[in-house]
């Protein structure tokens, strides 16, 4: 243990997991090996939309090494993949929920839809056999764009969803909004497209599934952010197996960003087949397979209008969104453009009336689900783009238009169903402006102009709701699961502590942060704390990691378990010290009789619990092992201001992010270095969305045009400036850590900051609008269109 491993809460303790990650010793799903393994390959649809009139696998079945080939019709007794959230539409009816077969049945609905599963002795043989399968496709017209799919005469994707509509849902007081618009001094409007993204975790999805005839049980190693949820959905909804017979292990996972929350077809089919083949089965996606099978993100088309008075005070916000959910409903697809989107449309502002209507629509594309930020980036993008427009329309400085509308009294009930517990938006705005040297911007702009370049500054004052979620509220809104978290603290006889958490770390550094909490709270060395996660066989229960919930919810569950440990320790110490329990104080790893120097170290109490020779056995069980479930009472509300500075080369349309400053309020911070790392990663993804990333389908054929990293531009280090980051703290009022969550803030705050900066820069040449990503081609086109006086193409 190094010297840096002693400081607990609030210290930048180095990530303990990095030793194994950086030396190649991480144990990922694809590192798991078993005797007698066989390989799985999925034959996928090359068409966006087609009827399957026949599948001939005779030749493939007898190809060398082939053990089995399954198609949709073979999966007898296997249900479709479920959606975990029921949305009720404005018509009072439940959303249209068409079946989502594990392997296609009769029809394929997107390029990449799995059609057959080939099991062979080697991957090579499985792929060779796949080429021998003859699928008879009757190609149907395809539709990939959400707005197109709602038009009369659009190709019908599911019989169960007439007009391709999943639901139309609304939130807010429409009457109040209409009334406010009627008396508005001015209305600012934006039409925006929130571009579809492909997650691209560095570790592709993978699974190893095995079956034991000895006890009729299954073990699944899988790249999951939430192994218990995976098991619950797979056993209860799809395979009809008892949970006790399925163990799901998510070992080291190389990034998820949401894409590994969901129950996917591949691992489900593999668990089922592992019994039929009676061999352990292995699969890992290739990158090109990830592009057409991992759930995508975003893909909204939105019209938003803000009504303001003559002083620039927001009177009402009206938002209409079409959300493309893809070909099937992925696990949480339905709640992302509704519950996690419309509820955030107040932003940091005291807008008195807000109404939002969302239509979710099926298309012939990969299903869309939560992706880093999940609904909240989309909401923030709407709010911050329209707020920017208000500033432009009224000639108000961008900080001023925000300040005139900030919420300053807490708790604050928004008109879109949330209650913000605390925040200080002036503080984060002021600090972001200081970091960004806003005062020096005019000089920098003038200097750039001398070089023929356009400089712009863009603001984004975002808010997000993290710490998912109060289960009763979620349930009332349609959640089909609870959203608490579980933590177990097992003190071992010699004082070492094992922490079992239902949160799952796939890059977030929980093994360090959670150990800091335990070491800090128990006053013990961090080196004696071990954090265990990601295994239904070891963890009491867990809802997993997404929505920046791990510290606020998972961390709090651990704190609750620690409280129980300390409470029991006090009883034991009282006995050992022959004092009243109420006189025992616990601090710095010692149980002390108040006002005396008589004490017992934590380790002595632990030993007494396991070697109970001198112990109140009549009143107290031996052992020191406590479990807690924590269900939050509210969401947490991280917020902050991000300021982006861009320089545009008007000749080529190239946008360079020359500076990016972010001041965030994440509540109390356990490990500042890890938090800063999370911010950096989030900003990279947010800048990626705004500047580079674009998932494009061909509007006629439905083929994915950006189907590889040769065409899908991920941000690279040299696309990014050195970030200037700062924090301000208003501790969360309703969890004992005072923590809010930091994992998604960058991805939420960055896109509007960047696009607002681009618009600020391009205002000089008459450009009024641009869509993400602000690629050189798009920026150049916008400049050309402004020059010729034409309206700018989306």
């Amino acid at each position: 243990m190094g010297a840096n491993e002693t400081g607990p809460i609030g210290q930048s303790v180095r990530r303990r997991e990095d030793q194994r990650f950086l030396t190649g010793a991480g144990q990922y799903t694809d590192d798991v090996t078993m005797a007698r393994e066989a390989y799985v390959y999925f034959l996928r649809s090359p068409h966006a939309h087609a009827k399957i009139s026949g599948i001939d696998r005779e030749e493939a079945r007898t190809a060398p090494g082939v053990l089995a080939i399954y198609t949709g019709d073979d999966l007898v007794g296997v249900n479709g993949l479920p959606c975990g959230w029921l949305i009720t539409g404005t018509d009072g009816k439940p959303m249209n929920e068409p079946p989502h077969p594990v392997l296609a049945k009769g029809k394929v609905r997107h390029v990449g839809d799995p059609v057959a599963m080939i099991v062979a002795e080697s991957l090579h043989q499985a792929k060779d056999a796949a080429e021998l399968i003859v699928v008879d496709y009757e190609i149907l017209p395809a539709v990939v764009n959400g707005v197109d799919a709602l038009k009369p005469g659009a190709p019908q994707i599911h019989d169960e969803a007439p007009g391709n509509r999943c639901y139309t849902w609304a939130l807010g007081d429409k009457g109040a909004v209409d009334a406010a618009f009627a008396k508005a001094h001015h209305v600012s409007k934006v039409d925006i497209v929130n571009n579809r993204l492909v997650p691209n975790a560095i570790e592709p999805r993978a699974a190893v599934a095995s079956y034991s005839r000895a006890d009729e049980s299954y073990t699944l190693y899988v790249t999951s952010q939430n192994p218990h949820v995976e098991r619950l959905l797979m056993t209860a909804f799809v395979l009809g197996l008892p949970e006790t017979k399925v163990r799901v292990i998510a070992p080291d996972v190389g990034g998820g960003f949401g894409s590994k929350i969901y129950l996917y077809a591949e691992e489900t089919a593999m668990v089922w087949a592992s019994k039929h083949v009676n061999r352990p089965l292995r699969w890992a996606a290739e990158r090109s397979e990830s592009f057409i099978s991992d759930a995508h993100g975003r893909d909204h088309v939105t019209h938003a209008e803000m009504a303001v008075d003559k002083d620039g005070k927001f009177l009402a916000l009206r938002v209409t969104t079409t959300a493309n959910v893809g070909a099937y409903l992925s696990t949480f697809a339905s709640c992302i453009p509704t519950i996690l989107y419309a509820t955030l449309l107040a932003g940091q502002y005291a807008t008195p009336a807000i109404h939002c209507e969302v239509t979710a629509v099926f298309t012939n594309t990969v299903p869309v689900d939560a992706y880093r930020g999940a609904g909240r980036p989309e909401a923030t993008y709407v709010v911050e783009r329209v707020v920017h427009q208000v500033g432009v329309d009224l000639g108000l400085a961008q900080d001023e238009v925000r300040r005139r509308n900030f919420i300053r009294t807490f708790p604050y009930a928004t008109p879109v169903a949330l209650t913000y517990d605390i925040g200080n938006y002036d503080a984060t705005l002021d600090e972001a402006m200081r970091l960004a040297d806003v005062a020096g911007f005019p000089a920098r702009r003038a200097e750039a102009a001398k070089r023929g370049k356009l400089r712009g500054l863009g603001y984004s004052s975002y808010i997000e709701a993290c710490g998912l979620a109060p289960s009763n509220i979620a349930g009332a809104l349609g959640a089909r699961a609870g959203l608490y978290e579980a933590g177990q603290v097992r003190v071992n006889p010699t004082g070492g502590v094992t922490v079992f958490t239902g949160s799952h770390s796939h890059g977030q550094g929980h093994e360090t942060t959670f150990a800091q909490i335990v070491a800090g709270r128990l006053g013990i060395d961090i080196g004696s704390v071990e954090v265990v996660h990601g295994d239904t066989g070891r963890i009491p229960f867990g809802m997993g990691t997404y929505g920046s919930r791990s510290l606020a919810v998972g961390g709090t569950a651990i704190v609750k378990a620690l409280d129980k440990i300390v409470a029991k320790g006090k009883k034991i110490a009282a006995h050992l010290l022959e004092a009243a329990e109420t006189d025992i104080e616990f601090a710095d790893g010692k149980f002390t009789v108040a006002g005396t120097d008589r004490s017992k170290a934590f380790g002595e109490v632990a030993l007494a619990a396991y070697v109970p020779h001198n112990y109140p056995l009549d009143k107290l069980e031996p052992g020191l092992d406590e479990t807690a479930f924590y269900d939050p009472t509210n969401f947490t509300y991280p917020a902050g201001t991000h300021i982006c500075e861009v320089e545009i080369d008007p000749e080529t349309g190239q946008t360079s992010v020359v500076a990016f400053s972010a001041c965030d309020d994440f509540g109390n911070v356990i490990n500042p270095m890890i938090v800063e790392g999370q911010v950096h990663g989030g900003l990279a993804q947010g800048i990626g969305q705004a500047l580079l990333e674009h998932c494009v389908y061909d509007r006629q054929s439905g083929q994915l045009l950006s189907g590889s990293l040769m065409d899908y531009a991920l941000p690279r280090a040299d696309d990014l400036p050195t970030f200037k980051v700062g924090t301000k703290v208003t501790p969360c009022t309703h969890n004992p850590l005072g923590a809010k969550g930091c994992g998604e803030a960058g991805a939420i705050g960055a896109p509007p900051a960047l696009i607002n900066a681009v618009l600020d820069a391009l205002a000089a040449v008459g450009v009024k609008d641009i869509q993400m990503p602000a690629s050189p081609h798009r920026v150049w086109q916008a400049i050309q269109a402004a020059k010729s006086g034409a309206t700018v193409a989306a």
């Binding site: 090579h124 792929k127 349309g653 990293l709």
Partner: protein, 263 residues
């Protein structure tokens, strides 16, 4: 990837014979070929590995020409003192290809034989008016690049070396496609004994010379002269990353930047 055999030969002649005999394909750096094989887009039964053939290696000055072996890696060209001294634009071009791994494996010969429409070397070879030497003949750059992924190379014909006449001055400006970072458009401008040559990659189905720019720059070798040229969009590539019009616009802009860099 399909199954394949991999063979080695101890001379270019033996390699060519092996290719002819097996119907196989030459393997250079593998940066294009192996990727295509992994995607099962290419299915050679036999690969004949050219690595280790000393005849294909090395960089040397030969009178007023720089001669570079086909198997010379991009990183070697980028770092070679001879290249930096004689044709710094070529060293810079090589330095700007792909990433470190790609540059350590990818070769001059492989890049030319592949003739990717967005590759950089074809612009250097055509812009400098180089001569491609094969195991059978010599081919002038103007005759080498035939179309999309097409060259003058016959079946089993191997590039052995390329001879680049040293220009008075030359510069290459690449505008990277945001995802692949190949050239969305790349323009190589050279003042040579035979006049001004301007080669454009990324914009069309194959590298081509921009006559209008060459003429304009022959009259006045200034950035403004380049910028004043209008290139028609007809026949240029149009894709996710840029329309034909955008590419047409970028050609004179990048040519002007190349000229400005030489001022």
């Amino acid at each position: 990837m399909y199954s394949f055999d991999i063979r080695k030969a101890d001379s270019v002649a033996a390699a060519a014979a092996l290719i002819a005999q097996t119907g196989g394909r030459a393997l250079a750096g593998g940066q294009s070929l192996i990727a295509a094989m992994k995607l099962r887009l290419a299915q050679p039964g036999t690969l004949v590995d050219l690595a280790g053939l000393t005849e294909l290696q090395g960089i040397r000055r030969d009178g007023n020409a720089l001669v570079i072996g086909a198997m010379t890696r991009h990183a070697e060209v980028a770092a070679a003192a001879d290249v930096k001294a004689a044709i710094p634009a070529l060293a810079a071009l090589a330095e700007g290809i792909g990433d470190r791994q790609v540059r350590n494996m990818g070769t001059l010969g492989g890049s030319l034989a592949n003739n990717d429409p967005a590759a950089c070397y074809p612009a250097g070879v055509l812009g400098l008016g180089a001569t491609v030497h094969t195991n059978r003949r010599t081919i002038a750059a103007d005759d080498f690049f035939k179309g999309l992924y097409e060259t003058a190379l016959g079946d089993g014909e191997l590039i052995t070396q390329v001879s680049f006449p040293v220009p008075t001055k030359a510069a290459y400006v690449k505008f990277a496609q945001p995802a692949s970072r190949f050239a969305l458009v790349g323009v190589f401008v050279a003042q040579t004994g035979g006049g001004v040559r301007v080669a454009v990659t990324g914009a069309g189905p194959s590298v081509f010379r921009a006559k209008a720019l060459e003429d304009a720059l022959a009259r006045t070798f200034t950035a403004d002269a380049a910028k004043a040229v209008r290139i028609p969009a007809t026949g240029l590539n149009s894709d996710l990353h840029g329309s034909a019009e955008y590419r047409a616009h970028l050609i004179p802009v990048l040519a002007a930047r190349a000229v400005a860099a030489l001022a």
